[in-house]
């Protein structure tokens, strides 16, 4: 341990990081909070003196804005359907890759993980063509089993499922890696003991694997939900929030209000609602974790 009475080197070591984080993270967070109580708009952009405090008006307006409720509903739909689906696929692939008899594990792990590192915008562009109503691969494959073409991104009922499918494909490899690590931490002696007791595959999974994976699953659920709350690039590239606002997400609404219409006060209120939702999820997780620890 360096002797701090002799040296203040730590000040120099810390200063760049702490100043940068304070100036370009903490100050903007506080400023966003203040901003959400003003009517900051395009005129204030030129002359900040024009902006006035309006109290809770932005928030009140928000809760009366059908577009906001739509964005919230869409985001929660995305999260409640896409999140569990993505986690289930991650767990399934992790179990498959963890099976003793599987060959070429490293290769398959790489293939499953590849979409995670790709650029979201680029693969969203690719998937837009996969979903093409006339020439897309998806409708071609469906036609082979006699299903009529679906206008995936043009139909308000199908646009969000299409975005969910892309998100699951893009992201499942990430949680899969964490699940594999969790699976490898389960002592094999547990399985051996269960086998001696005559437990079958399903029972071993139900009474050993799942409970032993519970902390991992909780962690994964929370990071997945936080990530899914921030849905933006998929609808921005594929649907621009349409059709009929069926894929408008909270962050997309924030972006449109703030940087297209320059309603920055209003947009800041949207951003803070997003923050509160994410905070809520984390608090619930904290509770659950503490309960599990007891």
């Amino acid at each position: 341990m360096a002797d701090s009475s002799r040296t203040y080197a730590y000040v120099v070591l810390l200063a760049p990081a702490l100043i940068a984080i304070a100036l370009f993270f903490f100050v903007p967070v506080l400023a966003a909070f203040v901003l959400s109580f003003t009517d900051f708009d395009i005129y204030a952009l030129g002359n900040i003196g024009v902006a006035r405090f309006v109290g809770f008006r932005n928030y009140l307006q928000l809760f009366q804005d059908p577009l906001f409720w739509q964005a919230l509903r869409n985001t929660i739909y995305f999260l409640l359907v896409g999140g569990p689906l993505s986690i289930a696929v991650s767990l399934g692939t992790a179990l498959l890759l963890n099976a003793k008899l599987v060959r070429l594990k490293a290769l398959f792990r790489f293939l499953y993980f590849a979409p995670v590192v790709t650029t979201l915008v680029a693969v969203a562009v690719v998937w837009r063509f996969i979903y093409h109503p006339r020439f897309g691969i998806l409708n071609f494959l469906l036609s082979l089993i006699g299903i009529n073409p679906v206008d995936w991104l043009g139909d308000p009922h199908w646009a969000m499922p299409a975005i969910i499918l892309l998100a699951v494909w893009k992201g499942f490899g990430y949680n899969m890696i964490i699940f594999i690590a969790g699976l490898q931490n389960i002592p094999t002696s547990l399985y051996e003991a269960a086998s001696i007791d005559g437990a079958g595959g399903w029972h071993r999974f139900r009474y050993i694997t799942l409970p032993m994976l519970a902390p991992t699953t909780l962690f994964i659920t929370v990071i997945t939900m936080i990530g899914y709350f921030q849905l933006f690039a998929e609808p921005y590239v594929m649907t621009q929030g349409g059709p009929l606002n069926s894929t408008l997400s909270i962050v997309l609404l924030m972006y449109q209000q703030g940087f297209r219409w320059w309603n920055m006060g209003y947009s800041a209120a949207v951003a803070f609602v997003l923050f509160l939702l994410i905070l809520l999820v984390s608090l619930v997780q904290n509770r659950l974790q503490r309960r599990a620890a007891h």
Partner: protein, 272 residues
């Protein structure tokens, strides 16, 4: 029985791999097709006459080299700068004792819960005031220091024995000498991991560059691609080539340095 199970599992695994890779493979294949070739039913899976036309167009007509350069420069700059700044702070948090250390560190960790989107409106206004909108600094400045990076390096540096640092001090090395010639080399694995994370994160980032880069010539690849895909809805093959150019650099980095990247996910996965 055992054989049958093995076959089923392998069948499943291969099928899943095919489904996972299909969109990426199709992207590459279609990028070698001639204009309009992919818009047919049934969709063609092999180019009739493989051509580099789309790539030539990207570089001659669409200014792709500029976007490529922007993305490459920004990703390298952010990675390098943040690595230095984060490692300094991570080391200080791990190996110095000073008033408020644990309090500051806890505050930083707790604030990781705040989504970056919250900062974007004021950050834009600040950078606008400073005249940094639509400049490289607009992307570099918010990426200079990162709490997650500081955290990763601190955790790693904690495992460095104090006796090593003491020995270096007795040999007459100063604080910065110790940081540069002892700590940094010892932290190499986590630095490589963090470098890959930062590089890929900056390369793939979309929302912030979309906001802060307002002029076409400053676009990064994802911003340019999103913009082009709006204008060239019908040019499937061209857009596939653009996607290939955007995805390939990060995919290559990952392929080469897979080990470090995956170990970073694990390190992040044991945050609690």
């Amino acid at each position: 029985m055992r054989l049958a199970r093995g076959l089923t599992v392998h069948l499943l695994i291969v099928l899943l791999a095919v489904i996972t890779m299909a969109p990426l493979v199709w992207m590459v294949v279609a990028s070698f097709m001639a204009n309009g070739e992919a818009s047919a039913f049934p969709p063609p899976f092999i180019p009739k006459q493989p051509t580099l036309d789309q790539y030539v167009q990207l570089f001659t007509r669409l200014n792709l080299s500029r976007y490529l350069l922007n993305s490459a420069f920004l990703s390298v700059a952010v990675t390098f700068i943040s690595l230095v700044i984060n490692s300094m702070a991570g080391y200080a948090f791990a190996k110095y004792r000073f008033a408020g250390r644990d309090g500051i560190f806890k505050l930083l960790i707790a604030s990781m819960i705040i989504p970056a989107q919250v900062t974007m409106l004021p950050l834009f206004l600040m950078l606008n005031k400073m005249g940094l909108v639509n400049t490289y600094f607009g992307v570099i400045i918010p990426g200079m220091a990162g709490i997650f990076g500081i955290f990763l390096i601190r955790q790693y540096a904690l495992s460095i024995p104090d006796s090593l640092i003491e020995a270096a001090r007795i040999d007459g090395a100063g604080d910065f000498r110790i940081y540069w010639s002892l700590i940094l080399p010892l932290c190499k694995p986590i630095l490589v991991t963090l470098a890959i994370f930062t590089f890929m994160g900056t390369w793939n980032d979309f929302l912030w560059p979309l906001i802060v880069m307002t002029d076409d010539s400053m676009y990064t690849l994802p911003v340019a691609l999103a913009n082009l895909s709006g204008e060239h809805v019908q040019d499937t093959e061209l857009m596939m080539a653009g996607s290939v150019m955007t995805v390939m650099p990060v995919l290559t980095v990952f392929m080469v340095l897979q080990k470090y990247y995956l170990s970073g996910i694990m390190a992040g996965g044991v945050k609690e």
